[in-house]
């Protein structure tokens, strides 16, 4: 349940930037390989943001696909989980995207 801790980091990061201004929206990017579940973040956000200027803000989460490149055959392919296996059978794979765990922007009223 590290999502609660990470959601708390999110709220602190936003508050450092927005101060007392009411926040209406928070835009995140969370990749499938980040180790963080978007649904758990949504659940935690309501709890953590309560009583702050983020309370009631809409949480929008962009979930990019994981992409990898095989170092053996050069193929690029989609990664759905952390089993890094190229269709050619090689496990020597470079993760190109999917580990994102970012707050991209916030909207203030």
């Amino acid at each position: 349940m590290h999502e609660l801790s990470i959601t708390q980091s999110l709220v602190y990061a936003v508050l450092e930037c927005t101060g007392e201004r009411p926040v209406t929206g928070v835009n995140l990017r969370i990749g499938p390989l980040s180790g963080v579940l978007p649904d758990a973040m949504r659940f935690c956000f309501d709890i953590v943001s309560a009583g702050t200027s983020l309370a009631g803000a809409q949480l929008k989460i962009d979930e990019p696909k994981g992409q990898a490149r095989c170092r053996s055959c050069g193929t690029e392919f989609e990664l759905e989980d952390l089993i890094l296996l190229c269709p050619c059978g090689s496990a020597d794979v470079e993760v190109l995207s999917g580990r994102e765990l970012m707050v991209m922007s916030v909207e203030v009223a």
Partner: protein, 282 residues
């Protein structure tokens, strides 16, 4: 509220002194205090074209683990500047982390100048076991927290005050999930799995095994009595992490420990390349 697993208050974190007698009550976590300088962010001025009733979008593009990663980078520099190697030892509870450390420190004696930072939710039982073999040790009690973070390691290092050129074993809280996400600034991550846990752990907890520089299968003396396929376990690890070293040993009987000591010996001289491979991998 806990900034780690969410079930407690991080201000409960306690770092012991070297003699183990006086736990220092921790200061307020830097996240918790009122922000003393809530300056207007320079990017957030009213855009001249924006009507007052329209929302303003502020770009942040910030990693949510940025604060921990920054502290970890500071630890990494602090350690490198003193030529100290820190090994972050992680496993499920009861996989044999402390037993392996006690055995290692006993067997290697004066050959390995080392201290230990112990992380547990409560008690100083593990620190007491390390202290009993005559090595400096700091106990960090995380209270409800489920892992060590870079800030806790920094405070542990301050209390331990390790000698330049020495080794620091950091025994993380027993947990195969949360510690994987939190970089401490360590030189290498050592993950221990014991044969009684079953050989499917690498698939079930891929983040932990993906982060590992060395995977140790412990309690090999029990292999005849449990359903654990060492080859299949290694195959699973290779699917997630092709570069991790892999050892099978028994910290109780001593089987296979020579290879672990060789790894420790080797990783001393290649600590630079280890650090490089870590940064390359992430």
């Amino acid at each position: 509220m806990c900034t780690t697993c969410g079930c407690g208050d991080e201000t409960n974190t306690r770092v012991s002194t070297l003699d183990g007698t006086q736990p220092i009550l921790e200061h307020q976590h830097p996240h918790e205090h009122e922000h003393p300088h809530p300056h207007e962010h320079p990017h957030t001025h009213e855009h001249p074209h924006t009507h007052e009733h329209q929302p303003v979008t502020i770009t942040l593009e910030q990693n949510l683990l940025a604060k921990n990663d920054l502290l970890a980078a500071r630890n990494r520099g602090w350690l490198a500047g003193r030529g100290i190697r820190a090994l972050n030892v992680m496993s499920s509870p009861g996989a044999g982390k402390t037993t392996l450390l006690v055995r290692t420190l006993t067997d290697l004696g004066g050959q390995l100048q080392a201290g230990v930072i112990e992380g547990d939710q409560e008690t100083s039982l593990d620190a007491d076991r390390i202290r009993a073999v005559g090595r400096p040790v700091i106990q960090i009690n995380t209270g409800a927290g489920c892992h060590l973070d870079a800030d806790m390691l920094q405070r542990g290092l301050d209390a331990l005050d390790p000698q330049p050129g020495s080794t620091v074993f950091v025994e993380n809280v027993g947990n195969l999930v949360c510690p994987a996400l939190f970089d401490l600034g360590e030189t290498a991550k050592v993950v221990i799995i014991s044969v009684t846990e079953g050989d499917d752990k690498p698939q079930k907890y891929p983040h932990m095994f993906m982060a590992a520089d060395l995977v140790i299968v412990n309690k090999s003396d029990l292999l005849p009595y449990v359903d654990f396929d060492v080859d299949d376990c290694l195959r699973q690890i290779r699917q997630i992490n092709p570069r991790a070293d892999f050892l099978v040993l028994s910290a109780t009987t001593g089987d296979g420990l020579a290879a672990w000591y060789d790894w420790l010996d080797g990783s001393t001289s290649r600590s630079d390349s280890l650090t490089e491979s870590l940064s390359d991998a992430h």
